[in-house]
Symmetry: C2
Subunit: 358 residues, 2 copies
């Protein structure tokens, strides 16, 4: 994170390109070193230029969260996409999915026997299927022992079972990261054994999140899907996944009110930073140049900040940087990311996949 501020309108999101590129290269080097594929999650950046850098660094393809995200990345020329979600095709999605399946190499997630026939019927070129496993996050996904039944139904529907995937979201709690990585590996191994016992070949065992991926040992996980690592954010700093200097994206905000001695107010709020606020982060964002400061209160267009004991408050009109708690939420709120390198702006990238929620 460069210390020199660039001159931009506030409230804006600014990407330090050198830090971004270092994050992409660092993760790619790690994955290469342990012999695991990278299929980074594009929901974080929703941006062609970041995706291109990920592929140039060796990623095998992209992960996306929705059919709509797959469509925009397909339009932009990305040909190998995994919809890492328990896909359910209603009548609206069947038509869209059929068109998409003709244009790109598709992998999709499934966590129920009921989902498979609809996907098989809707597909022109049949996608490869990964069965979603719950490794302890207790969101979607089946327990390892139930994976074979879903795989059997998938095969009966005429679809190819490629493997299994999981998301160790329980890693989002300080002190639990390494344990979550271990739970991920155990769940994937158990599910793989169950599938192989039922006669399925398990060629892909996909896991990985930004907090956990560097804890991955070779042998079980064959593919990693981190997303946030390209930018990092205040959650990752709190989890110990990165240092403040590894954060590549900041919101820029102007001090617009200093009417009380104990606080100042920025022209930024939940409509740029997002409202994510797990109890284990120190506030609604982190000020990298005033680490003692606390963003105590967040409205849609106001951030109320108390400065630390040993720091004086910035003055009216000063521009300060704020690291969002959850960068995926912040990026999805803006239409463009402003680029900076060594203290000068370098144009912008369009968040062209913003808002593709269906």
């Amino acid at each position: 994170m460069g210390a020199t501020l660039v001159d931009v309108e506030t409230a804006s999101l600014v990407v330090d390109i050198d830090t971004l590129e270092r994050n992409i290269t660092g993760a790619a080097t790690f994955a290469h070193g342990v012999g695991i594929s990278m299929r980074p999650h594009a929901k974080t950046h929703k941006t062609v230029e970041v995706a291109q850098r990920q592929l140039q660094a060796g990623a095998s393809g992209l992960s996306v969260a929705t059919l709509g995200e797959a469509e925009v990345f397909a339009e932009a020329g990305f040909g190998d996409l995994f919809i890492a979600f328990p896909l359910w095709l209603d009548s609206h999605r069947q038509r869209r999915f059929a068109e998409l399946s003709e244009r790109v190499t598709l992998r999709v997630g499934i966590d129920s026997s009921e989902a498979a026939p609809g996907i098989a019927r809707a597909s022109r070129n049949k996608p490869q299927v990964l069965i979603e496993i719950d490794c302890g996050h207790h969101r979607s996904g089946v327990l390892p022992a139930a994976a074979a039944a879903v795989a059997n139904a998938t095969a009966r529907a005429g679809l190819e079972v490629l493997g299994i995937f999981t998301f160790p979201g329980q890693s989002y709690e300080p002190g639990f990261v390494a344990r979550a990585a271990g739970q991920e590996a155990i769940a994937l191994e158990r599910a793989a054994i169950a599938l192989e016992a039922a006669g399925h070949q398990v060629r892909v065992r996909s896991g990985g999140s930004t907090p956990t991926f560097r804890h991955t040992k070779d042998g079980i996980v064959t593919e990693l899907r981190p997303g946030v690592y390209v930018f990092n954010d205040a959650q990752q700093v709190a989890l110990g996944s990165c240092k403040v200097d590894d954060v590549a994206l900041c919101a820029y905000a102007t001090v617009v009110s200093v009417s009380a001695a104990d606080r100042f107010v920025l022209d930024i709020g939940s409509k740029v930073l997002g409202a994510d606020r797990p109890p284990w982060v120190p506030g609604y964002g982190l000020l990298p140049d005033m680490l003692d400061a606390r963003v105590l209160q967040l409205s849609e267009h106001h951030a109320v900040v108390t400065h630390g004991e040993h720091q004086s408050a910035p003055k009216l009109g000063e521009v300060v940087r704020v690291i969002p708690n959850h960068v995926c939420s912040a990026v999805n709120l803006v239409d463009k990311l402003i680029l900076s390198r060594e203290g000068t702006t370098q144009g912008h990238w369009a968040v062209f996949g913003r808002g593709r929620n269906s």
Copy 2:
């Protein structure tokens, strides 16, 4: 809120027009009855068609949060706008503000003596100024006793002091709504007395939020600026500002996973609902057709819901409705609002002010 679901792609936001129009008329009738002007906050809907209905119901103009919101509503033909924010004009905003000030009747907020000269210099047609008062929310705004100094500086800069405004955000806590309305009135009265003692005429005393505005007595407050009331949301239900039947906007979501007996998963998350989650709401949203259900966990594209004790879980592929906690956040995440009336869709409205954060 109509009980009949319309056929839409999920995840989408759907507006029940009859309920919306009833909410707009109800608030206008209340304000008319107590003899107070309405200048509703357009940041909630960011939509031409809702703003038109508000003016048709008698609103004197619109409130907006940012210069960018003022610009888009000016482009759409709305000629009387109040930027209800402590405006600070940096070099980028000075040029934009100058252009805007030529085109519409502008009111702006100020809470510092330092802000006034910049606004005066940048304006072609000078805006009217309202001094922001802190009535207990402790965000921006000066204490009533400090209002005269800001008014004096405003007048010295050559700007017209029209009056004072405040936002009783401390009303967002169950049981504190009536008290917040009282604090609003007291702070406005004290500030008005201070300004008048300093020789300023106080023609506008602007207050009002969705939780408090119906508690407003005549006599002190001359203008109300509620925003959320057009749609309502789960926060307003929890605060007692409205009933579930008064909620005019719901997210539609599909059940995509039922892999565990104690929960089901919807294809909707913080990228459509927003992540707002004050401790006094029961979850990350409210299911109006399953009020016992709890949205326990929210990711970007997953909502994990436990159904109530006496209800069975919906089936895979079923569509359910979710009331967002904070509708302003939800609307700002989508490009369009789908319209429904008596169970049929009626086209859509563009959220044309979405993302105007600068």
